[in-house]
Structure formats: structure tokens, C-alpha cells
């Protein structure tokens, strides 16, 4: 009987062990950012540089990470819940001087060829985590090497087993192709008195500015991007933006504001606004921004100003082969890359107006009272 009892105990112990092992079966090995067996798994990156290139999980592990809690419902009402750890896509893109907002779509493709294109509205409003740790543990094998997690979006975007990332700039979102200089533009807009603390300054309506110099009917515009010389960047909804003013004189000008807005929505020292395909640029604050970034001023023939190329770099304008320089009086000149020579300079002339000068293959070119530059196809 003793033997039989022992047998029974052994059977129960084995059962218990089996249950315990089964329960622990999904526990992963290793810790955060520690070397792992999938570190050399490759992900193809397309559209970020001229040639496709590959990155590995080990590369991603070198980047700073964040951990975010994310929940997404399934159609059956269940919730997919995860604490996702990994670098932000923006952190990865920073190495290439880009942000996710620079793209119209980013497509993630899994090894089984499932892919999803994350559209521009999601790119503009959500953080994307290239997670390799979920709930404090390395990913399960079927998710390796990386699982995309986008908090506040459905789990359909959470591509696992990522094999390829495509960065797309075409499609529904177009990069700016025109820059309008605020100082010159404001002169031809209705200006109104704006009470600001103890002073009365001048302001222009954003709706007037956009109606005259951009496509106010562009239905693809949902957000308007603004950047200030102190580095502040903000997206404002189209409706809010078009109900506001830009104060162009006095303290903290140019300043985006409106009487109905809390001060937290105001933006002082505005450098540029991106409205659809138009960038509106303030020369004075642009100079301050570049100075804050320790970028030296460009000097040409004794004139000090902002390099033509910096305007492109700051506003994200895509370069072309021909450019149309437009003066406030409506006259314009079209210059080619060769005409621009070393690049050209935007500066303030003796009368205080903005001007452009360059010396290229066709000699010296000047544009006074510079209003806008358009990139021609």
C-alpha cells in the first residue's frame, strides 16, 4: 500500500509540475535591451536614403527607449493590452534628420507579407513605438524582431514580425513648394489694431493671409504646423488656425494669437507656418532661430542674411531645378540651379525690405522686396 501511495503522490507531483511548467511556458528569457537571439534579424528600410538599407534589432537596441501602455479593442470586444518598450520611430528617424511627419505614409510589412500603411493623420498625431519588449519581456518568437505599437490606434496597425519599412512622401500629402515671406506679405494685407497688455499693436488675420497667399480651399489641410524661434513646434487645427491672428508688431511679434484663445495656445516668435503646400516664413525670427541653433549667418558681398538653402532646410521645402522669385509688385524672375551658383542669400536691404541676391552661371541676380519663392516643376 505504501508503494501505491508513493506512486499516487508521485503522480500528483508530476501533474503539479506539468501544470506549473505549462503556466510558465510563455515566460521569455533575458531582460530589457540585453543581447538576444534575434539581434541580427534584418529589417529593410526603403525611402529614407537613396538606396534601401538594412537595420538590425541590435541597431534599434542602441537607441533610447520609452515604455507606453497601449490598449486596442478587437472586434469581439476583447482588448489587446500591452506595455510596449522600444525606441520611438521618431527617435530612429532623428538619425537621418527626419520626423514621421515628413512622410505622407509609412508602411510596415511583416514577414508574412501583411502590411499596413500608416496614414498622414496618424503620423501627425500619434507616437509609433518600434517595440522589442512587451510587458517587460522580450517578444515571443512570432513577433520578433520588432512589433509596431501605436497607442490610441487599433491593433490592425500593430504589425508584428516586421521585415520592411517603407517611407513614402507621395500620395495624399505634398511637401511645401512655395515659401512666402511674412514681412513682405503683411504689408499688403488688411492690418488691424490689436490690444496687447498695455499696448496696441498691429495684427493680420490668418484667414486673410492664407486666402491671399495659399490655397485656403485645400481640403487636405486638417492641421497647420507652426514653429517658433525658441524651438516650440505645434500643430493647430485648421479651424482654430483660421480663426486667429498674427500680431506683427510689438512685443513677441510675430505672435500667433486670438482673443478667444487661452495664452497657452499663443505662439510667440513665430518662424514659420506650414499650410498645405505653402510655408510662410518670418525672416527676422528665422535669423533668431538659426542663431539659437548656432548656425552662422551667411555673408555675400558684405551682405549678411539667411542662406537660400536654409529656408528649404527649415521649412521642409523640396528643392527643384527652377525657382520663381516673386517681388511684392508682382514682378518675378525664374532662376535655375546653375543661376543660383553657390546658393544665394536672403537679406534686408538698405530700405529694410527683404531682398535676394545670387551669383551664378548667368551672372549676378537680384530680387528686391522679395515676397515669395516657388519651386517650379
Amino acid at each position: 500500500m505504501k508503494n501505491v501511495c508513493k506512486l499516487l503522490l508521485l503522480f500528483l507531483a508530476l501533474l503539479l509540475l506539468t501544470v506549473t511548467v505549462a503556466a510558465c511556458g510563455d515566460k521569455a528569457q533575458g531582460g530589457a535591451a540585453e543581447p538576444g537571439p534575434y539581434d541580427q534579424e534584418k529589417i529593410v528600410v526603403h525611402g529614407l536614403q537613396e538606396q534601401d538599407f538594412e537595420i538590425t534589432l541590435a541597431d534599434l537596441k542602441k537607441l533610447p527607449t520609452i515604455t507606453k501602455h497601449a490598449e486596442a479593442p478587437r472586434s469581439n470586444g476583447e482588448m489587446v493590452i500591452v506595455d510596449a518598450t522600444g525606441p520611438l520611430l521618431d527617435t530612429f528617424l532623428q538619425q537621418y534628420g527626419k520626423t514621421q511627419k515628413d512622410f505622407s505614409r509609412i508602411r510596415f510589412t511583416a514577414k508574412d507579407q501583411y502590411s499596413i500603411a500608416v496614414p498622414s493623420d496618424v503620423l501627425a498625431n500619434r507616437q509609433i513605438i518600434l517595440s522589442y519588449i512587451n510587458d517587460g519581456k522580450p517578444l515571443d518568437e512570432e513577433m520578433q524582431p520588432v512589433r509596431i505599437v501605436i497607442p490610441e490606434e487599433r491593433a490592425m496597425y500593430w504589425v508584428r514580425n516586421v521585415a520592411r519599412i517603407d517611407f513614402e512622401t507621395g500620395g495624399d500629402q505634398k511637401s511645401p513648394n512655395k515659401v512666402v515671406f511674412l514681412e513682405t506679405a503683411a504689408k499688403s494685407l488688411p492690418q488691424q489694431d490689436y490690444e496687447y497688455f498695455d499696448s496696441v499693436d498691429k495684427a493680420v488675420k490668418t484667414s486673410d493671409l492664407i486666402a491671399k497667399y495659399a490655397d485656403i480651399n485645400d481640403s487636405s489641410v486638417t492641421n497647420v504646423f507652426m514653429k517658433a524661434s525658441d524651438g516650440l513646434q505645434k500643430n493647430e487645427s485648421k479651424a482654430n488656425f483660421l480663426s486667429a491672428f498674427i500680431k506683427i508688431t510689438g512685443d513677441e511679434a510675430p505672435k500667433f494669437l486670438a482673443p478667444q484663445f487661452p495664452q497657452g495656445m499663443h505662439i510667440r516668435g513665430l518662424v514659420y507656418i506650414i499650410y498645405g503646400q505653402t510655408a510662410i516664413f518670418d525672416y527676422a525670427e528665422g535669423s533668431t532661430l538659426l542663431s539659437n541653433l548656432n548656425i552662422p549667418k551667411q555673408v555675400e558681398e558684405g551682405k549678411e542674411g539667411i542662406a537660400f538653402s536654409q529656408i528649404f532646410k527649415q521649412t521642409g521645402l523640396i528643392g527643384g531645378n527652377r525657382y520663381k522669385f516673386i517681388s511684392a509688385d508682382g514682378n518675378s524672375v525664374v532662376l535655375t540651379i546653375n543661376d543660383l551658383g553657390s546658393g544665394g542669400l536672403i537679406y534686408r536691404n538698405a530700405q529694410g525690405a527683404l531682398a535676394f541676391t545670387c551669383t551664378g552661371s548667368s551672372g549676378k541676380k537680384n530680387v528686391d522686396d522679395l515676397l515669395a519663392i516657388e519651386v517650379l516643376p
Binding site: L8, Y114, A117, P119, D121, E152, M156, T222, P262, G264
Partner: protein, 492 residues
């Protein structure tokens, strides 16, 4: 020996039976789809029932000649935790057929699951039409409203709408297909796409109260979200809470507590922006923070002669406060100029600022800053607050704070912040407009007169929401026109 072996055999047999039973149960469950039944609306915990075996105490009941294993509706309701007073229970069937019964009349009401009829309401004493089959939802609808789960709409003058998620679920709502995205998979070189939508039950504020052309809405969420929007977005009734959605901008705010229509542009955040501007202009700045003083309370005090100094300073600007209504949350907001969701102080237990404060700006400008506080330290700020204690044990440290402020004025500084606390304390103890609270305002007003007259620069005086007045009214941290606005003065 034979008997022992027989016993062992029985034991092993029972063990095998138990394992088999468990395994069969698992297999059986795995192959049977049970549609979910949701208990939602004005409840603390939304229940999604998919396993009749986990309903709780099952009773055997007989109804119309058939016998059922059923759970008491009252037990189910208790599990979900009805908010405030549950008034009605709506049973919603798969085809939209809906019936409502009084939540107080459910002693003989049951929920059963049968393979034929799915989830089924069995109300033994109610008319037969209440006994509906294929139920998908039981919506709990409370009578009146309670704080914390009520959706509030107000304007600077008055409370306009107080409505609960359950009450909203019984109103006409729009079923809005919210575009989630598009997926694609490549097979044999061809892309196969699908678009994904979720149908959401939504409404607009204009469905609840009239709006004028161009009206702006200030939406505040449970976690300190603070967004100024127009009426183009939607409010979604999701289980027991209300979310804000904007399909174009993909703005999503979870658990909206309230909306202020036509909000004043001024807010307690202005302390940071005004203060920064004054300091950058080379002005010295005194900021006086009056804990617990609300706009309506101050208006009453001035109209009834309790605040002659403040009255002489001119009409106060009505400034928006923030939600949640906690003293440290309001203080962090005015110090940083950022909403709670951005400055990191969202609950009473948060103490670390995650945004630069007015003291950061003072430090950058090499300005000398002092922070005198009659309340215990609530936030970690660059300028360490000097906590003033109630040395004379008269129940308030405000008198000692007044003395300390005078002494600091003699020493001189560029930025001085002084925070009085007695109005909040008294309001909490006696009530919002109680004579004792008015007396506290009167005393504070005298202190203000004494301090402001001696200050050689700009002055900002503002109230900041304490939880006090709401607690006194028997509620906590309510979202109402009485508590969401504070007075704000720029002086000199």
C-alpha cells in the same frame, strides 16, 4: 488489502473523472460561441458576460412551463455597481427591440442563457413583453446625476446640461463609422486591401444644448486634458463614459468630464505667461494665490462688502480653472502655464512638475524668487516653498504668512509668490458662501491691501480651485460653473 486496493481504485477513478470533466469542459467551451452580454451605462464596472458558468449564484426557476438555471438580475447589477440611484434598466435585444423596467422592481427578475434564445430576461412579475430574448445589452440608467460619472456642459454663467452615460444611451444617437485605417496584404504579386471602420454611438454638443455659429468648446478630461475645439468633433458614448473624437485630426480624449461653452480666454495658466512677460520686461512681480476662491464666491463677497480692497481693484477677469479640481493640480497649472496632462500633476498624489515653471523662467533671467506658502508643501518647485506654520494655533497660518510676507518685502526680491489658504479651509468646513467663509475672505482682503500697497512692481492676484467648496456641498471635485472659474486680476 483488497479493501485498500478498492479504495485506491476509487481514488484514481475519481481523479481521472475530474481531469476528464475539466478537459471536456474546456473542449466544450472552446467549440461553443456565446454572444456577449454587456451590463453598461451608469455603472462602476462594465460587465461583459460570455460565460454563463461565471454569472454567480444560479437559481433554478420555472417560467411558462420551462425550467431555467438563472442568475438574479439584482446580483448582476450589484456586481456592476450602479452609480447613484439606478432608475431604469433597459434590455436591448439583437434586433434593437428594447424594454425598460424600474431598477427598484427586480426582486423577481432573472437573466438566463439558453442555447435557443441566447441571453434572456425573465421577469416573473412583469408584463410578458419585458421578457425578451437575445439580449445584447442591459443599460443601467440612473435617476438624476452624481459627480464623477456625469457629463457636464456649462457656460461661464450657468450649468447647462448634466447627463449620465446611461441617460445618453437612451437618447437618439448617431451611429458614426469612424475610419480606423486601411490594411493590405500582398498575395501572388497582387495587393488585397481592406478598410476598417468602427461604428460609434456619437452625439454633438448641439444635440444637447443650442450653440451659436462659431462657438468654441473647452473639453476637459479625467486625466487633465484641456482642449479648445469647435463643434465639428463628436462625443462618443462608450460603455460608462464619454469620449471626444475628431475624425479629421484623430483627436481622442478618453473619459471627458465636461465641456465649457464659450469659455473665457483667460485661465489660471495666464499666471505663467503674464509672469514670464513681466519678468522679461524687467518688472518685479508679486503673485498672490488665494486657495479655494472661485469667481462666483468672489463676486458675492465683493457685492456684499467682504472684499473692499479687491473691489477697488476693479472687476476681476473670469478665468478658467482645470480638472481634476485638486489644489496641487491647480497650483501646478498656474505655475507652468500647461494643462495637467502636460505638466504631469494630475492627481493629489502627484508632486513633480514635468514642465518649466515661472520659477524656471526667473532662474533663467537671474531673478531672485521667493515662494511663501501657508499650506504644506504640495509640489517640488525650483524655488523651494517656505512653508509657514500656524504658530499661534488659531487654526490658520495665513496671519503668520502675512507677517512673513512683510519681512520678505523688506529684503526685496524680483518674484514673490504668496499662497493664502484660509478661504479653502473655511469653505470646506462651513460652505461656499457661509458667513465664516466670507469672514475668511474679508481677512484675506485686508492682508492683500497691506501687501500690495508695499510691492514695488506688477501684481497678479488669482484664485485657484481647491476641492474645498465641492466637498462642502457634499460632492467631490465637481465640474460645475460654481467651481470651474476663478477671479484673476492684473494690478499696477
Amino acid at each position: 488489502m483488497l479493501k485498500k486496493n478498492w479504495l485506491l481504485g476509487v481514488c484514481l477513478g475519481l481523479l481521472g473523472l475530474a481531469i476528464g470533466w475539466t478537459a471536456m469542459g474546456a473542449v466544450s467551451r472552446a467549440h461553443r460561441y456565446i454572444p456577449p452580454l454587456k451590463v453598461t451605462g451608469d455603472v462602476t464596472d462594465v460587465l461583459t458576460l460570455q460565460d454563463p458558468g461565471r454569472l454567480g449564484n444560479m437559481e433554478k426557476i420555472t417560467f411558462q412551463g420551462a425550467s431555467y438555471q438563472a442568475v438574479k438580475l439584482a446580483d448582476l447589477l450589484a456586481k456592476a455597481g450602479p452609480q447613484a440611484n439606478a432608475g431604469q434598466l433597459y434590455f436591448v435585444a439583437l434586433d434593437g427591440f428594447t424594454t425598460a423596467i424600474k431598477a427598484t422592481d427586480i426582486d423577481h427578475s432573472y437573466i438566463a442563457f439558453t442555447a435557443k434564445n441566447g441571453w434572456e430576461a425573465i421577469n416573473l412579475l412583469h408584463p410578458n413583453s419585458s421578457n425578451i430574448k437575445s439580449i445584447t445589452e442591459i443599460v443601467v440608467v440612473s435617476e438624476g446625476s452624481g459627480e464623477g460619472f456625469t457629463f457636464n456642459v456649462l457656460d461661464p454663467e450657468t450649468d447647462l446640461v448634466k447627463i449620465t452615460p446611461g441617460q445618453l444611451l437612451t437618447r437618439p444617437l448617431t451611429l458614426y463609422p469612424y475610419a480606423e485605417g486601411k490594411a493590405v496584404v500582398q498575395n501572388d504579386g497582387k495587393d488585397y486591401e481592406n478598410q476598417v471602420f468602427t461604428k460609434r454611438r456619437v452625439f454633438k454638443i448641439s444635440d444637447l444644448t443650442p450653440l451659436q455659429e462659431g462657438d468654441m468648446l473647452l473639453v476637459m478630461g479625467e486625466k487633465g486634458e484641456y482642449r479648445l475645439v469647435d463643434d465639428s468633433g463628436y462625443f462618443e458614448v462608450k460603455d460608462n463614459s464619454i469620449n471626444y473624437l475628431h475624425p479629421d485630426t484623430r483627436t481622442k480624449l478618453q473619459k471627458v468630464q465636461g465641456v465649457i461653452l464659450r469659455p473665457p480666454a483667460a485661465g489660471i495658466m495666464d499666471v505663467y505667461y503674464d509672469g514670464r512677460r513681466y519678468l522679461e520686461s524687467g518688472d518685479k512681480l508679486l503673485v498672490v494665490v488665494l486657495d479655494g476662491l472661485t469667481y462666483q464666491q468672489c463676486d458675492y463677497a465683493m457685492a456684499n462688502g467682504y472684499a473692499p480692497f479687491l473691489k477697488s481693484a476693479g472687476k476681476a477677469t473670469q478665468a478658467c480653472g482645470v480638472y481634476p479640481r485638486e489644489a496641487n493640480v491647480g497650483l501646478a497649472t498656474l505655475l507652468t502655464g500647461k494643462a495637467p496632462e502636460e505638466n504631469g500633476v494630475v492627481t493629489a498624489s502627484d508632486h513633480t512638475l514635468q514642465a518649466p515653471s515661472i520659477f524656471t523662467e526667473a532662474n533663467k533671467l537671474n531673478k531672485k524668487a521667493v515662494f511663501l506658502d501657508a499650506a504644506p508643501k504640495q509640489l517640488d518647485t525650483e524655488t523651494e516653498p517656505v512653508s509657514i506654520s500656524d504658530r499661534n494655533a488659531d487654526g490658520s497660518a495665513d496671519d503668520e504668512l502675512f507677517e512673513a510676507t512683510g519681512a520678505t518685502l523688506e529684503q526685496g526680491c524680483d518674484l514673490m509668490m504668496v499662497r493664502f489658504h484660509a478661504i479653502d479651509d473655511t469653505g470646506r468646513r462651513y460652505g461656499f458662501l457661509a458667513p465664516e467663509t466670507m469672514q475668511a475672505i474679508s481677512v484675506t482682503d485686508r492682508y492683500l491691501a497691506g501687501i500690495v500697497s508695499r510691492w514695488p512692481g506688477k501684481v497678479i492676484v488669482t484664485g485657484v480651485q481647491g476641492a474645498g467648496s465641492a466637498e462642502a456641498a457634499g460632492a467631490h471635485a465637481s465640474f460645475d460653473s460654481e467651481g470651474m472659474f476663478v477671479p484673476y486680476w492684473r494690478m499696477k
